[in-house]
Symmetry: C2
Subunit: 352 residues, 2 copies
């Protein structure tokens, strides 16, 4: 049965990427060995890591602009502490924008390292909007923001300007839309949305911001060490890095971020238009802050729930249940989601 995979992450990946990854588990690069049983120092794997790093910088238009791309482990959750460890000065101060559960987790970890000011929060309305018109203090080491909020379906459209470092958790919308990436000093993203399987974290970092905090940083948490070892300080997560490389190549072949942004906007419009047109549904997020990756919506008539859930199940729709803190439905429509699958969902909504 053809499945339509709307999971929030780990999530859908391009079919051709999955096929190539499956083959590499048996025979990688026709060397008669599996990708997962060769040395990470072998020429075959070193080439994978280099290509993945190059594709990241190329797709983001950050080549030769003083940035490094690292494929680390531990997900965004480990970045929540690596960021203050590397960027918050001893007795320094940072500012965070609180736009959801993941921002809140990042804030919790930063507070272990020093003064952490939450400069604005949308918690008052269960995070259904992005705060605006907040004041950014002048005396901070960095400002931390979360570009897309998977649970609530909100997304930052205009990024804040600050003389401090700007750090962005892009876990759930990286490579989905055209941005001037030079406005960020550090970007991180777990792979498991738009890039690859769970198990690797992309960190894109401006080299010259490091080494200025006065902290003693354990080696595995030190971005400078990872940069100096070209992301191979220790054994990297070989399979997730390889699949990420394949997905990045797939994106480049498609026309890069310019091309995918048009596709994503088109896909999101198809679904949001139906939500706005159909009186049985209502969007969960404020219109101007709607995410083009995670579309959250509610039934206006709860008595239709059982019927709609059954229709989804019968149509092979997977992972469309909303997060418990929002309820309703969440359609995650990441880069690899085909428009056809969204059309299947929209047709069900029309026929409810």
């Amino acid at each position: 049965m053809k499945k339509h995979n709307f999971s929030a992450g780990p999530c859908i990946l391009p079919k051709e990427v999955l096929e190539q990854a499956s083959k590499a588990v048996i025979n990688f690069n026709n060397i008669d060995l599996s990708l997962i049983e060769i040395s990470h120092r072998s020429a075959d794997f070193v080439a994978v890591m280099e290509k993945a790093q190059n594709l990241v910088l190329e797709l983001m238009d950050l080549k030769d602009k003083g940035y490094s791309a690292l494929f680390l482990q531990g997900g965004a959750s480990l970045e929540f502490l690596m960021v203050p460890y590397n960027l918050m000065k001893e007795n320094g101060k940072t500012a965070y924008l609180d736009t959801g559960a993941w921002s809140s987790k990042a804030i919790k970890e930063a507070k272990l390292f020093g003064e952490t000011e939450v400069i604005a929060s949308s918690k008052d309305k269960n995070y259904n909007y992005i705060p605006k018109n907040y004041t950014i203090p002048n005396d901070i080491d960095y400002l931390h923001i979360t570009s897309n909020n998977t649970i609530y379906g909100t997304q930052i459209k205009d990024f804040p300007k600050t003389d401090a470092l700007l750090v962005c958790d892009m876990s759930s919308d990286i490579f989905s839309r055209k941005l001037d990436f030079t406005q960020f000093d550090l970007i991180y993203a777990g792979a498991q949305k738009n890039m690859g399987p769970a198990g690797t974290t992309l960190v894109v970092i401006k080299n010259d911001i490091l080494g200025k905090t006065g902290r003693k940083i354990p080696s595995m948490l030190d971005y400078q060490i990872h940069i100096s070892k070209e992301s191979m300080f220790n054994t990297p997560p070989v399979f997730p890095v390889y699949v990420s490389m394949l997905t990045l190549q797939w994106l480049k072949d498609l026309g890069g971020i310019d091309a995918i942004e048009k596709i994503n906007n088109d896909k999101a419009a198809l679904l949001y238009d139906e939500i706005d047109r159909n009186p049985l549904f209502a969007g969960a997020a404020t219109k101007e802050d709607r995410s083009n990756m995670n579309v959250t919506f509610l039934l206006t008539d709860e008595s239709k729930k059982e019927k709609f859930d059954q229709m989804c199940k019968d149509a092979g729709i997977n992972g469309v249940k909303g997060h418990r803190s929002v309820g309703g439905y969440r359609a995650s429509i990441y880069n690899a989601m085909p428009k056809e699958s969204i059309q299947v969902l929209v047709d069900l909504m029309r026929n409810l």
Copy 2:
């Protein structure tokens, strides 16, 4: 061409495990979705994680003995700092046994946290033996040892006794030999030797040793948090955990650690006997401390090097080059290495 994969890690895995893993990348559990694109909170993946944890405790005979098994990220390198973070008291003291490059790295990280005494070291002879007859201080929080030293081909046969906690890095010989695992309070191991692909770290930990240091531990580095979330505090590395589960099941089906120990001893004897018999070769490690996982040996006549290397290449032997700090050759003969491949190598040595 049939390859004989002697890589030190990432390394050989059972053929049937690779085949099942390859299939799961396309269609996992016949659910018409890939293993790597489903939610880690789905029933299908939660069952994988639970099974992997149960297999670990069962194979180690640690069930119902107050231990937890965690599948984390970051390799042994992250454990080097998590261990002192979780077990070294504020203003406490620890002791480390220095048996090689990996011990040294662990020591370096521990020193960032407090007083770290190296109670014995075999560095004087390029780590070709395991120190004995050292004194363990009474006032330490834990003693840290490395059970097997991949680079030098040495292995601890008799484990030290101490009233302090005993922490063991078993990255390169876990599940290879029968041990009383209750003698350890914390065991950790990167997956990429005897368990699975790079990208997950097994931590087996006695629950009641935690929460006693007085340190504020960042969430991702806190074993207690990972235990309370059943190893799903954040998105786990789904593919490496799945392949590890398959390998552990393969080991159980084979007869568990009892059975593999016999096979491993038999395989190691085949190679060591040839090294000792053949005047063209010499073992690199002291006999009584020889590893049954990594067999290091040198040519006694360097003029034969080119010929032997070519013979290995022609025979499809991969990854047998020694580490640069020891030179010569290293045959890593982990659990999944078939005796037939070792026989191929031994035959070449005989015919040199």
